[in-house]
Symmetry: C2
Subunit: 154 residues, 2 copies
DNA sequence: CCACCAAGTGCGGATTCCGTTGCAATCTCG
DNA sequence: CGAGATTGCAACGGAATCCGCACTTGGTGG
Protein backbone atom coordinates (compact mmCIF):
# COMPACT_ATOMS: atom_id res chain seq x y z
CA UNK A 1 0.00 0.00 0.00
CA UNK A 2 2.69 2.47 0.94
CA UNK A 3 6.16 3.08 -0.36
CA UNK A 4 7.88 5.46 2.09
CA UNK A 5 9.82 2.69 3.77
CA UNK A 6 13.55 2.56 3.20
CA UNK A 7 13.78 0.97 6.65
CA UNK A 8 16.33 -1.84 6.51
CA UNK A 9 14.21 -4.09 8.73
CA UNK A 10 15.80 -5.34 11.95
CA UNK A 11 16.67 -8.90 12.86
CA UNK A 12 13.65 -9.47 15.06
CA UNK A 13 11.27 -8.55 12.29
CA UNK A 14 13.16 -10.78 9.92
CA UNK A 15 12.78 -13.61 12.40
CA UNK A 16 9.07 -12.94 12.64
CA UNK A 17 8.79 -13.01 8.86
CA UNK A 18 10.73 -16.27 8.78
CA UNK A 19 8.27 -17.81 11.23
CA UNK A 20 5.31 -16.73 9.16
CA UNK A 21 6.94 -17.92 5.97
CA UNK A 22 6.96 -21.37 7.47
CA UNK A 23 3.38 -21.17 8.68
CA UNK A 24 1.26 -18.12 8.12
CA UNK A 25 -1.21 -19.11 10.82
CA UNK A 26 1.25 -19.61 13.63
CA UNK A 27 0.06 -17.90 16.81
CA UNK A 28 1.54 -14.62 18.00
CA UNK A 29 2.35 -16.27 21.30
CA UNK A 30 4.37 -19.01 19.64
CA UNK A 31 6.21 -16.52 17.46
CA UNK A 32 6.92 -14.39 20.50
CA UNK A 33 8.46 -17.35 22.27
CA UNK A 34 10.58 -18.12 19.22
CA UNK A 35 11.90 -14.61 18.69
CA UNK A 36 12.03 -13.49 22.32
CA UNK A 37 9.23 -10.97 22.42
CA UNK A 38 5.87 -10.68 24.11
CA UNK A 39 2.76 -11.70 22.24
CA UNK A 40 1.55 -8.11 22.05
CA UNK A 41 4.83 -6.88 20.64
CA UNK A 42 4.77 -9.51 17.92
CA UNK A 43 1.23 -8.56 17.08
CA UNK A 44 2.23 -4.93 16.79
CA UNK A 45 5.15 -5.67 14.54
CA UNK A 46 3.17 -7.97 12.29
CA UNK A 47 0.52 -5.30 11.98
CA UNK A 48 3.14 -2.75 11.05
CA UNK A 49 4.79 -5.04 8.51
CA UNK A 50 1.47 -5.71 6.84
CA UNK A 51 0.33 -2.09 6.92
CA UNK A 52 3.58 -0.86 5.43
CA UNK A 53 3.32 -3.38 2.62
CA UNK A 54 6.53 -5.18 3.46
CA UNK A 55 4.74 -8.45 4.14
CA UNK A 56 1.38 -10.05 3.55
CA UNK A 57 0.01 -13.30 4.91
CA UNK A 58 -2.00 -15.12 2.29
CA UNK A 59 -2.96 -18.50 0.93
CA UNK A 60 -1.07 -19.58 -2.16
CA UNK A 61 -1.97 -22.45 -4.44
CA UNK A 62 -0.94 -24.09 -7.62
CA UNK A 63 -3.46 -22.42 -9.95
CA UNK A 64 -3.90 -25.57 -11.98
CA UNK A 65 -5.37 -27.19 -8.87
CA UNK A 66 -8.21 -24.71 -8.68
CA UNK A 67 -9.38 -24.55 -12.24
CA UNK A 68 -6.94 -22.27 -13.98
CA UNK A 69 -5.64 -24.53 -16.66
CA UNK A 70 -3.38 -22.21 -18.59
CA UNK A 71 -0.51 -20.17 -17.33
CA UNK A 72 2.17 -18.38 -19.24
CA UNK A 73 5.00 -15.94 -18.85
CA UNK A 74 4.82 -13.17 -21.41
CA UNK A 75 8.08 -11.55 -22.44
CA UNK A 76 7.49 -8.06 -23.77
CA UNK A 77 9.58 -5.78 -25.97
CA UNK A 78 8.57 -2.17 -25.63
CA UNK A 79 9.48 1.37 -26.54
CA UNK A 80 9.50 4.49 -24.42
CA UNK A 81 8.71 4.62 -20.75
CA UNK A 82 8.34 1.21 -19.16
CA UNK A 83 6.60 2.12 -15.93
CA UNK A 84 3.30 3.20 -17.52
CA UNK A 85 3.23 -0.08 -19.39
CA UNK A 86 3.94 -1.98 -16.20
CA UNK A 87 1.12 -0.09 -14.51
CA UNK A 88 -1.27 -0.96 -17.30
CA UNK A 89 -0.32 -4.62 -17.09
CA UNK A 90 -0.73 -4.57 -13.34
CA UNK A 91 -4.31 -3.46 -13.74
CA UNK A 92 -5.27 -6.64 -15.57
CA UNK A 93 -6.77 -9.12 -13.13
CA UNK A 94 -5.47 -12.06 -15.12
CA UNK A 95 -1.92 -10.80 -14.73
CA UNK A 96 -0.58 -11.73 -11.31
CA UNK A 97 3.06 -10.79 -11.72
CA UNK A 98 4.77 -7.89 -13.47
CA UNK A 99 8.47 -7.08 -13.49
CA UNK A 100 10.59 -4.58 -15.37
CA UNK A 101 13.80 -6.29 -16.41
CA UNK A 102 17.14 -5.62 -18.00
CA UNK A 103 17.73 -8.29 -20.59
CA UNK A 104 16.30 -9.44 -23.84
CA UNK A 105 12.83 -8.52 -22.63
CA UNK A 106 11.88 -5.18 -21.18
CA UNK A 107 9.03 -6.59 -19.15
CA UNK A 108 7.82 -9.93 -17.87
CA UNK A 109 4.19 -10.59 -17.04
CA UNK A 110 2.76 -13.82 -15.71
CA UNK A 111 -0.76 -14.60 -16.86
CA UNK A 112 -3.25 -16.99 -15.27
CA UNK A 113 -6.10 -18.04 -17.53
CA UNK A 114 -8.94 -20.51 -17.54
CA UNK A 115 -8.50 -21.80 -21.07
CA UNK A 116 -6.57 -21.40 -24.27
CA UNK A 117 -9.18 -19.02 -25.60
CA UNK A 118 -9.01 -16.96 -22.48
CA UNK A 119 -5.23 -16.82 -22.65
CA UNK A 120 -5.29 -15.86 -26.30
CA UNK A 121 -7.73 -13.08 -25.63
CA UNK A 122 -5.65 -11.61 -22.84
CA UNK A 123 -2.48 -11.63 -24.86
CA UNK A 124 -3.79 -10.43 -28.16
CA UNK A 125 -6.52 -8.09 -27.04
CA UNK A 126 -5.30 -6.85 -23.67
CA UNK A 127 -1.54 -6.90 -23.78
CA UNK A 128 -0.42 -6.52 -27.38
CA UNK A 129 -2.70 -3.55 -27.88
CA UNK A 130 -1.14 -1.51 -25.07
CA UNK A 131 0.64 1.61 -26.31
CA UNK A 132 4.39 1.09 -26.28
CA UNK A 133 4.24 -2.68 -26.59
CA UNK A 134 6.20 -3.64 -29.69
CA UNK A 135 6.15 -7.42 -29.58
CA UNK A 136 5.52 -10.25 -27.17
CA UNK A 137 6.67 -13.77 -26.71
CA UNK A 138 4.56 -16.34 -24.90
CA UNK A 139 6.20 -18.96 -22.72
CA UNK A 140 3.41 -21.40 -21.99
CA UNK A 141 3.80 -23.23 -18.70
CA UNK A 142 4.00 -26.96 -19.01
CA UNK A 143 4.78 -27.72 -15.41
CA UNK A 144 5.24 -25.70 -12.27
CA UNK A 145 8.04 -27.42 -10.43
CA UNK A 146 8.84 -25.15 -7.50
CA UNK A 147 7.16 -22.23 -5.82
CA UNK A 148 8.69 -21.05 -2.59
CA UNK A 149 8.25 -18.11 -0.31
CA UNK A 150 10.91 -18.85 2.27
CA UNK A 151 13.50 -16.23 1.50
CA UNK A 152 15.40 -15.41 4.58
CA UNK A 153 14.99 -18.87 6.02
CA UNK A 154 18.39 -19.79 4.67
CA UNK B 1 4.31 -32.80 -0.90
CA UNK B 2 1.79 -35.15 -2.42
CA UNK B 3 0.58 -35.77 -5.91
CA UNK B 4 -2.34 -38.23 -5.70
CA UNK B 5 -4.93 -35.49 -6.07
CA UNK B 6 -6.96 -35.38 -9.27
CA UNK B 7 -9.80 -34.01 -7.14
CA UNK B 8 -11.41 -31.10 -8.94
CA UNK B 9 -11.95 -29.19 -5.68
CA UNK B 10 -15.53 -28.21 -4.84
CA UNK B 11 -16.99 -24.73 -4.65
CA UNK B 12 -16.92 -24.52 -0.88
CA UNK B 13 -13.21 -25.23 -0.78
CA UNK B 14 -12.64 -22.66 -3.49
CA UNK B 15 -14.54 -20.15 -1.41
CA UNK B 16 -12.40 -20.97 1.60
CA UNK B 17 -9.26 -20.50 -0.46
CA UNK B 18 -10.57 -17.20 -1.75
CA UNK B 19 -11.09 -16.02 1.83
CA UNK B 20 -7.59 -16.97 2.81
CA UNK B 21 -6.13 -15.39 -0.29
CA UNK B 22 -7.53 -12.12 0.93
CA UNK B 23 -6.26 -12.59 4.45
CA UNK B 24 -4.36 -15.66 5.52
CA UNK B 25 -5.03 -15.01 9.18
CA UNK B 26 -8.79 -14.73 8.96
CA UNK B 27 -10.49 -16.79 11.67
CA UNK B 28 -12.13 -20.13 10.93
CA UNK B 29 -15.34 -18.80 12.44
CA UNK B 30 -15.42 -15.82 10.07
CA UNK B 31 -14.68 -18.03 7.09
CA UNK B 32 -17.38 -20.44 8.18
CA UNK B 33 -19.92 -17.64 8.28
CA UNK B 34 -18.84 -16.49 4.82
CA UNK B 35 -19.02 -19.89 3.16
CA UNK B 36 -21.88 -21.38 5.16
CA UNK B 37 -20.10 -24.01 7.20
CA UNK B 38 -19.38 -24.55 10.86
CA UNK B 39 -16.07 -23.44 12.28
CA UNK B 40 -14.94 -27.02 12.83
CA UNK B 41 -15.75 -28.00 9.25
CA UNK B 42 -13.73 -25.12 7.88
CA UNK B 43 -10.85 -26.08 10.11
CA UNK B 44 -10.99 -29.65 8.81
CA UNK B 45 -11.07 -28.55 5.19
CA UNK B 46 -8.22 -26.11 5.58
CA UNK B 47 -6.21 -28.83 7.26
CA UNK B 48 -6.94 -31.17 4.38
CA UNK B 49 -6.09 -28.59 1.74
CA UNK B 50 -2.78 -27.88 3.39
CA UNK B 51 -1.94 -31.53 3.99
CA UNK B 52 -2.69 -32.45 0.39
CA UNK B 53 -0.46 -29.65 -0.84
CA UNK B 54 -3.19 -27.82 -2.71
CA UNK B 55 -2.82 -24.73 -0.59
CA UNK B 56 -0.39 -23.22 1.86
CA UNK B 57 -0.80 -20.20 4.08
CA UNK B 58 2.41 -18.22 4.25
CA UNK B 59 3.91 -14.77 4.52
CA UNK B 60 5.14 -13.27 1.28
CA UNK B 61 7.34 -10.24 0.90
CA UNK B 62 9.10 -8.18 -1.67
CA UNK B 63 12.59 -9.69 -1.32
CA UNK B 64 14.27 -6.34 -1.89
CA UNK B 65 12.62 -5.15 1.31
CA UNK B 66 14.38 -7.74 3.39
CA UNK B 67 17.89 -7.54 2.14
CA UNK B 68 17.92 -9.51 -1.08
CA UNK B 69 19.08 -6.89 -3.49
CA UNK B 70 19.32 -8.88 -6.68
CA UNK B 71 16.65 -10.87 -8.39
CA UNK B 72 16.58 -12.30 -11.86
CA UNK B 73 14.65 -14.62 -14.09
CA UNK B 74 16.90 -17.09 -15.83
CA UNK B 75 15.77 -18.41 -19.17
CA UNK B 76 17.36 -21.77 -19.92
CA UNK B 77 17.90 -23.67 -23.16
CA UNK B 78 18.47 -27.36 -22.54
CA UNK B 79 18.79 -30.71 -24.20
CA UNK B 80 17.30 -34.03 -23.25
CA UNK B 81 14.91 -34.62 -20.39
CA UNK B 82 13.73 -31.41 -18.76
CA UNK B 83 12.35 -32.78 -15.52
CA UNK B 84 15.69 -33.84 -14.04
CA UNK B 85 17.02 -30.38 -14.76
CA UNK B 86 13.98 -28.82 -13.17
CA UNK B 87 14.53 -31.03 -10.14
CA UNK B 88 18.14 -29.97 -9.89
CA UNK B 89 17.19 -26.32 -10.09
CA UNK B 90 14.50 -26.82 -7.47
CA UNK B 91 17.12 -28.05 -5.05
CA UNK B 92 18.96 -24.76 -5.07
CA UNK B 93 17.85 -22.64 -2.13
CA UNK B 94 18.45 -19.43 -4.03
CA UNK B 95 16.00 -20.55 -6.72
CA UNK B 96 12.45 -19.93 -5.57
CA UNK B 97 10.55 -20.61 -8.77
CA UNK B 98 11.00 -23.20 -11.48
CA UNK B 99 8.76 -23.83 -14.50
CA UNK B 100 9.05 -25.97 -17.55
CA UNK B 101 7.77 -24.00 -20.54
CA UNK B 102 6.98 -24.31 -24.19
CA UNK B 103 8.51 -21.35 -25.95
CA UNK B 104 11.87 -19.91 -26.71
CA UNK B 105 13.14 -21.15 -23.36
CA UNK B 106 12.78 -24.67 -22.07
CA UNK B 107 12.87 -23.65 -18.44
CA UNK B 108 12.44 -20.54 -16.36
CA UNK B 109 14.02 -20.17 -12.95
CA UNK B 110 13.71 -17.19 -10.65
CA UNK B 111 16.75 -16.46 -8.53
CA UNK B 112 16.91 -14.41 -5.34
CA UNK B 113 20.40 -13.25 -4.39
CA UNK B 114 22.03 -10.95 -1.90
CA UNK B 115 24.44 -9.27 -4.27
CA UNK B 116 25.79 -9.22 -7.79
CA UNK B 117 28.59 -11.56 -6.81
CA UNK B 118 26.14 -13.95 -5.25
CA UNK B 119 23.93 -13.87 -8.34
CA UNK B 120 26.85 -14.43 -10.64
CA UNK B 121 28.01 -17.38 -8.62
CA UNK B 122 24.62 -19.04 -8.69
CA UNK B 123 24.22 -18.62 -12.41
CA UNK B 124 27.68 -19.53 -13.55
CA UNK B 125 28.62 -22.13 -10.99
CA UNK B 126 25.29 -23.67 -9.99
CA UNK B 127 23.03 -23.39 -12.99
CA UNK B 128 25.18 -23.31 -16.11
CA UNK B 129 27.14 -26.34 -14.97
CA UNK B 130 24.09 -28.57 -14.69
CA UNK B 131 24.13 -31.44 -17.18
CA UNK B 132 21.74 -30.74 -20.03
CA UNK B 133 21.88 -26.96 -19.69
CA UNK B 134 23.04 -25.56 -23.02
CA UNK B 135 22.79 -21.84 -22.52
CA UNK B 136 21.14 -19.34 -20.23
CA UNK B 137 19.87 -15.82 -20.45
CA UNK B 138 19.63 -13.57 -17.43
CA UNK B 139 16.78 -11.13 -17.07
CA UNK B 140 17.81 -8.95 -14.17
CA UNK B 141 14.88 -7.46 -12.27
CA UNK B 142 14.82 -3.71 -12.21
CA UNK B 143 11.49 -3.33 -10.52
CA UNK B 144 8.83 -5.66 -9.18
CA UNK B 145 5.56 -3.98 -10.04
CA UNK B 146 2.92 -6.53 -9.11
CA UNK B 147 2.79 -9.71 -7.10
CA UNK B 148 -0.64 -11.15 -6.42
CA UNK B 149 -1.99 -14.37 -5.05
CA UNK B 150 -5.68 -13.76 -5.44
CA UNK B 151 -6.55 -16.13 -8.24
CA UNK B 152 -10.13 -17.11 -7.94
CA UNK B 153 -11.11 -13.86 -6.32
CA UNK B 154 -12.20 -12.55 -9.68
C1' DC C 1 -29.76 -54.48 5.81
C1' DC C 2 -25.96 -53.05 8.09
C1' DA C 3 -21.16 -51.96 8.55
C1' DC C 4 -18.15 -48.50 7.15
C1' DC C 5 -16.32 -44.17 5.83
C1' DA C 6 -16.26 -39.33 4.93
C1' DA C 7 -17.86 -34.93 6.21
C1' DG C 8 -20.40 -31.95 9.27
C1' DT C 9 -22.29 -30.23 13.76
C1' DG C 10 -22.19 -29.17 18.67
C1' DC C 11 -19.87 -28.50 22.74
C1' DG C 12 -16.78 -27.36 26.56
C1' DG C 13 -11.99 -26.20 28.05
C1' DA C 14 -7.66 -24.38 26.87
C1' DT C 15 -5.51 -21.04 24.27
C1' DT C 16 -5.18 -17.03 21.74
C1' DC C 17 -6.40 -12.60 20.33
C1' DC C 18 -7.14 -7.78 21.17
C1' DG C 19 -7.59 -3.25 23.29
C1' DT C 20 -5.77 -0.80 26.89
C1' DT C 21 -2.68 0.79 30.33
C1' DG C 22 1.78 1.69 32.15
C1' DC C 23 6.65 2.07 31.76
C1' DA C 24 11.25 2.82 29.99
C1' DA C 25 14.21 4.39 26.42
C1' DT C 26 14.91 7.56 22.73
C1' DC C 27 14.07 11.90 20.13
C1' DT C 28 13.24 16.68 19.73
C1' DC C 29 13.86 21.39 20.22
C1' DG C 30 13.94 25.60 22.51
C1' DC D 1 19.76 20.43 29.66
C1' DG D 2 15.11 18.97 30.39
C1' DA D 3 10.07 18.79 29.62
C1' DG D 4 7.22 16.85 26.32
C1' DA D 5 6.35 13.84 22.55
C1' DT D 6 7.14 9.40 20.49
C1' DT D 7 8.15 4.69 20.11
C1' DG D 8 8.42 -0.04 21.44
C1' DC D 9 7.44 -3.37 24.70
C1' DA D 10 5.29 -5.94 28.79
C1' DA D 11 1.26 -7.00 31.41
C1' DC D 12 -3.42 -8.01 31.97
C1' DG D 13 -8.33 -9.25 31.62
C1' DG D 14 -12.39 -10.10 28.93
C1' DA D 15 -13.94 -11.73 24.52
C1' DA D 16 -13.23 -14.54 20.74
C1' DT D 17 -11.04 -18.32 18.73
C1' DC D 18 -9.04 -22.69 18.41
C1' DC D 19 -9.01 -27.53 19.28
C1' DG D 20 -10.19 -32.22 20.42
C1' DC D 21 -13.91 -35.23 20.88
C1' DA D 22 -18.31 -37.30 20.75
C1' DC D 23 -22.39 -37.49 18.13
C1' DT D 24 -25.34 -37.14 13.57
C1' DT D 25 -25.98 -37.68 8.71
C1' DG D 26 -25.50 -39.29 4.09
C1' DG D 27 -23.73 -42.08 0.86
C1' DT D 28 -21.43 -46.84 -0.72
C1' DG D 29 -20.60 -51.41 -1.08
C1' DG D 30 -20.64 -56.17 0.40
Amino acid sequence: MSKPKPTPLDDVSKAIIAELQEDGRRSYAAIGKAVGLSEAAVRQRVQRLVDSGVMQVVAVTDPTEIGFARQAMIGIHATGELEPIADALAELTEVDYVVITAGSFDLLAEVVAESDDHLLEIISRRIRTLPGVMSTETLLYLKLRKQTYAWGVR
